[in-house]
Assembly symmetry: C2
Homo-oligomer: 337 residues x 2
């Protein structure tokens, strides 16, 4: 039903359309790509492809344009991810290597990706749930206030001010800090609630109210930050492109954490290094856009996701190459620190 030549025609259509942004006709196609057949033959193939729903024409007697289904086939079977050039690789490496802390890594990553792909880049902060406690710190502020600082193995720091139910002098604070760390050090964040559940009971009765207060704030912190922060960059790249769904909707989605989250693909796949490509109407919202995303993280476990968002008409091989490469490098950086 779809012989090799038809597939070649589809590939050619996608490539030409992506590069020219104009419906592509049979003559131009037969010339530019050296299919060794006449325009008429190409037309027949096009008719078949249109019949199957892979391409469409904006109006009678214009050239053909790929449909979402056409792009899908192209991505799945007709293209291969295009690796970056050596220069690009080196640029990535040196740029990311300069990061001083987790915030900086994320900021640099998202900018890098935006610049590399000339699209909007989106990066999710490494998830707390997969990381472990490296240290818990209690810093006395006033007599009834302490600052709770939680440091994870990914370098992430969360802090909260805790209002204590009674005055607690510094030495007691230090003691409690030791107790907390003894209990939580190295503990996976998901296990923290279980780990601390019976902690008050194991302490002298006079410490219980204070510890309970601190723990409730700690748990609250974990819950609140569960749905992770997402940052984006490169919104300026939207200016040129045209979206069926209107620029406004795209910009709104970018500022809406929840929407972005779902677009990136909330379900972390079991094979983190796989590239996810969602094309046009395959997206839950924002039907006019495509998303290329993948997981990243130190080692095997996927800490979070990153990707780019752009018009359906994008250069998928190049974009996929950039996303994959950046994800690898940032994973390396995170593993090293």
């Amino acid at each position: 039903m779809l012989d090799d030549r038809k597939l070649a025609v589809l590939r050619a259509i996608v490539e030409d359309y992506v590069s020219t942004n104009e419906p592509v006709g049979s003559r131009a196609l037969a010339e530019r790509h050296n299919l060794k057949v006449s325009p008429a033959t190409v037309r027949n193939d096009m008719a078949a492809l249109e019949e199957e729903g892979y391409i469409t024409q904006p109006h009678t007697s214009a050239g053909r344009v790929p449909t979402d289904k056409g792009y899908r086939l192209f991505v799945d079977r007709l293209s291969q991810v295009k690796p970056l050039s050596g220069a690009e690789r080196r640029a990535i490496e040196t740029f990311l290597a300069g990061a001083v802390d987790l915030d900086d890594v994320v900021t640099r990553t998202v900018r890098l990706l935006a610049q590399l792909t000339r699209q909007v880049a989106v990066v999710q902060y490494p998830t707390l749930t997969r990381s472990t406690v490296r240290h818990v710190e209690l810093v006395p502020l006033h007599d009834r206030r302490v600052m709770l600082v939680l440091i994870t193995n990914t370098g992430r720091v969360e802090q909260r001010v805790v209002e204590l139910p009674e005055v607690v002098e510094d030495t007691r604070i230090a003691h409690l800090r030791a107790v907390l760390n003894a209990s939580l050090d190295g503990c996976g964040l998901l296990n923290v609630p279980d780990q601390v559940a019976d902690l008050p009971e194991r302490l002298p009765v006079e410490d219980r109210p204070v510890v309970a207060t601190i723990l409730s704030v700690l748990l609250e912190t974990l819950v609140e930050r569960h749905d992770e922060k997402i940052v984006f960059a490169g919104a300026a790249n939207l200016a040129g492109a045209d979206f069926s769904t209107g620029l406004r909707d795209v910009l709104e989605a970018l500022e809406e954490q929840v929407v972005l989250m779902r677009l990136l693909g909330e379900t972390s796949t079991d094979t983190p290094s796989t590239l996810t490509v969602r094309i046009g109407s395959e997206n839950p919202f924002l039907r006019g856009t495509s998303i290329v995303a993948t997981g990243y993280g130190s080692g095997d476990n996927e800490l979070a996701r990153l990707g780019v968002l752009g018009p359906t008409r994008m250069d998928y091989p190049v974009t996929m190459g950039a996303v994959r490469a950046v994800a690898r490098y940032v994973s390396q950086i995170l593993a090293a620190s």
Copy 2:
């Protein structure tokens, strides 16, 4: 030269043009605002106003449109800041009151302002330079690594990993922490360099390399964060508006910290509660946009600035009211914490 009626005409032109986005002609003007004169008279006044450069016509025989100079006069002399409604005030108050930490305050503020003005809101993080050290914390990570955490009186937290030149056991770390805090507690961030300059000399010789390393990272942190972080929200509001300078440039500026900084007004004025309005070509870059900004901060000293950015054709009285109100509320919140 500019009598009262001419000023009234200018005001009417600005108001009509802002609300309709169409050049306003003499007839419509004479009708809608009850100037009790004929269109012909209005035309004469318009000719005078145009002569003086306050208004202009897009092409011969179209209505008039205010120039930057016209808006300037309007803002300075013809309008008064429009206060918010009671409902809006309450909404602001409750929304900001829910913030849990400084990050949250800033995020909420910028979103609130964007929603309120239907423009792009811009908020600068409270400057380190005006705040003071509340606590310095050293957290051992490995034997040769500690995390340096700096907490300021505005609730801001900066952290850095420090690579020490030698192995340092925890008790020594605790000692150094005490020394640092004794020296720096309550110290203004600007004075930190002076304060610690001779610190190594006052310590036993064996501590000096370690302390020197820590201090260099500390100072580095202060310097690096000197030019402060700026966040924005409401980019979606740009979608409808048209900018002479192209949407792309505006979006690029928004992601460029340095540019945003200068737009907000790098020189903090001596009277922080003053609203700064920069109209069109008065802006260093982005000549097509206007900016309404003001300082905010706890008490008298201006900690940072916030404002909105929009097309030159904006409703200045309303925008100014919103910016002023939000600045006041966020100042209150910061003062209370």
